[in-house]
Symmetry: C2
DNA sequence: TTAAAATATGAACAATGTTCATTATATTTG
DNA sequence: CAAATATAATGAACATTGTTCATATTTTAA
């Protein structure tokens, strides 16, 4: 049974959470202070501590909500493209666009310090699997249609995940590349390197043969038809 | 000409920088406070402001030194392996190992907030090209020996860069993967996906063919011989 | 030696997170 | 309904941050 107390407590939490979310989307983490949030919610700063262990806790519970928002944002951008690899690419681009639009949320998802990892395992998991969750349906579609081998999917997911996060980190936090257009260009190149490009020509990606005593030669060629 | 004043000023800066570096390698960024650094250097906290604009400035000038240290660390780990792709892989693994050993330095390189991007362009560049700088000689070796096509090198460098940073970010900041061994396993998989594995069998990485109206089919196959 | 310039210093301020005794409100009980 | 009790909201207070600035100290110049 849900007691009145529980309802009221959730409502109070909601006020603080909404205020925190608004600040995060606008100014980012640096704008979130316990006094700032409290004022926006219409309460005294110390009242927050009746509902959240500390300010870290408050900030962290926003993540699940934002993951939902991210999923909607991405679905909206990708719905028009054809199912399969094409839409998969659009989903990844959409995921990147979301964090470019809300850099504060990238900070929250990937850069923010987490106090106690153990107690926040569920939320951490939401973060770590956020891209996978957004792409899952499309991966299944691709597997079912034989567009990708099931054995490769986990590695490909991982490749996209690390690439996207690395690219976003450098761009949002280190201004590399310096311009948005070059950043998007890099993104396209990277996505095509992982999921395949539609260039109608075959080309060799890496071709390694060398003669160390114990090391076998290896030849890798990527053919795009 | 180098004035006495300049020498003395550099010496003073050096005291604060050394103290900051020691703290960064040990406790990480959270341990760096202006009072903490000053005490370790044997001066009053306000003296720092006679030599550095702010605490961000102080922290940032440590980066070039650490890049040197990183390069030595990596070279030491990779020197025994055969030149070419094999050593290239070892260099990347060494780069990762460096930041696993000193998580505070990963924080400094990639996570720390930068006040004024414009004035720190040189240092930012040291960061963004740190992996490339470490691998440059080996890339040239590979190109000269025809192990990789020159046209592909920039993309491969970028792939390694984003992958390494994404992987490190998730592992050091989000405990993903949860164990060190699984993390290293992921690293190996990713490196092999980019630079080629030595598995003596051909395998298909991604195989996409689908029938959107305007989208061409694409087939990518990676053959390792 | 004395005047002047340079440099080191801690007091002071604003902003931060957090705790806690007190006040105000809501609920229960007589 | 009134009083007693429980619950919740509050701001004072503390510790810690970065930063500024007037003052004290040291070094340099005359």
């Amino acid at each position: 049974m849900v007691t009145n107390k529980a309802i009221q407590e959730q409502r109070m939490k909601g006020y603080f959470i909404q205020a925190t979310k608004d600040i995060l989307k606008g100014e980012g983490l640096k704008g979130v202070s316990v006094r700032n949030v409290a004022q926006q919610a219409g309460y005294s700063y110390s009242t927050i501590y009746n509902y959240f262990k500390d300010v870290n806790d408050l900030v962290f519970v926003c993540i699940s909500d934002f993951q939902q928002e991210c999923a909607s944002f991405v679905a909206d951008q990708a719905q028009s493209s054809a199912p399969g690899i094409d839409r998969l690419k659009k989903l990844v681009v959409g995921y990147v666009n979301f964090f470019v639009e809300y850099p504060g949320l990238f900070e929250l998802f990937y850069l923010a310090k987490v106090g106690d990892f153990g107690h926040k395992e569920a939320t951490i998991n939401v973060i770590n699997s956020s891209l996978d969750a957004i792409c899952e349906k499309e991966w299944n579609y691709c597997i079912a249609r034989g567009m990708v081998k099931a054995a490769d999917v986990e590695r490909l997911k991982a490749q996209l995940r690390y690439m996207v996060i690395g690219l976003l980190l450098l761009y949002l936090n280190r201004r590399f590349p310096a311009s948005y257009s070059e950043f998007m260009n890099q993104l396209t190149i990277q996505i095509n390197a992982i999921l395949g490009s539609e260039t109608p020509s075959g080309q060799t990606v890496a071709n390694t043969g060398q003669g160390g005593p114990l090391v076998q030669n290896s030849l890798i060629s990527v053919n795009i038809k």
